[in-house]
Symmetry: C2
Subunit: 215 residues, 2 copies
Amino acid sequence: MPAPSEKPPEKTPEKKPSRIQIRNRKKIIDAALDVFSQHGFRGATLDQIAEAAGMSKPNLIYYFDGKEAIHVALLNALMTEWLDPLRELDAEGDPLEEILGYVRRKMEMSRQFPRESRLFAIEIIQGAPRMLPHLESDLKPLFDEKCALIAGWMNAGKLAPQDPQQLVMSIWALTQHFADFDTQVRVLVPDETAGWKAANAHVETIFRAILTPKG
Amino acid sequence: MPAPSEKPPEKTPEKKPSRIQIRNRKKIIDAALDVFSQHGFRGATLDQIAEAAGMSKPNLIYYFDGKEAIHVALLNALMTEWLDPLRELDAEGDPLEEILGYVRRKMEMSRQFPRESRLFAIEIIQGAPRMLPHLESDLKPLFDEKCALIAGWMNAGKLAPQDPQQLVMSIWALTQHFADFDTQVRVLVPDETAGWKAANAHVETIFRAILTPKG
DNA sequence: TCGTGGCTTTACCAAATGGTAAAAAACACG
DNA sequence: CGTGTTTTTTACCATTTGGTAAAGCCACGA
């Protein structure tokens, strides 16, 4: 029988990545974000990603196992930070300001990271074939936890009572709209700067209106 | 020189389509709706569409000039009816009820035609490469007209004053969310029937809250 | 019954695409 | 330096994909 594990408990024999590896992996992920967020998984090609990353196609495969691996790595890296604004929802803070703060953070993310927003949108619209596990394991628990928190605030009379799940999804719908449907928004409201200002104000108005408890 | 047009003024020599043509074109468009709404333009294949339509690939090409032509035909056919709910917004009706009626119609469309909603969403998210002209020529004028109508209502004190453009886009964002992000919604709110009921109620609450003029 | 014209299938094809093999180049380091 | 390792390139390959050519099928009127 084989020697009973004398080595230190190294599960996967992965060495720590070199500087070049780190740099090139980043370049690939960024290029993949460009391409996948514009064409979806099936519509994206390795050649496009390779060109956007400024390297050859076989070189991509050297760093990632294949197209699918790149996509998965991208989604994994993204899922964590994408949920951060929701995680920050603080049970100790002022309820109304906490939620308005969350709304502002999401609007800010939509403006600063539209590619990420679109990548998620496309993945979900297409049935989340590569992200369903993440939705179940990462998003769902956080969603339930924060919904319970909000429900508590409502029961305490700090917020107008309503369905917390619908409230949170409404926040997502409104804040992501401006990143995902940017093309349409630009046609209808050509002045981009004014558009964002108006959007921020309008969204804030909405949630202030439906959350302020009736005195 | 060629005979100076004696025939009746027929621009394109298209005969009226036969029954078979009508039936098969419909089958193709419906199949294409399935495939394009799930994979986007680049990600969809003619083979997929052909199989979904129950006919051979060359047969598709017999009815449409190619992949792009199918997609364009699909978008054209859709654009018209998709804007109908907004067209019905009636200047003569009660302002609040008119807008709430519009919201209800859009929610109903999201539930009944999720494929259509997703097709549009994907097209827009990907930069509307084949729909920008329609947005400019069809959507924009209608949008401007209805925004002016709503602004008039606000000036007359019938609705709480706010940015009409942002209002309309908020309606779109909220109503489409439940069709486009259906996969996510299902994970977070497993009971579909209850989800739709709650969504309808919540969306109605939102717009009633921000539109009711302070009296 | 025989055409005739609209419809469908079979057999292809060239380009694109995901991926591989192996040599060449660049690098790390004693 | 020289040598072993990491990184990159070149040359391919099998499959998929959008599309074509041409023959076959089928209903229907003369």
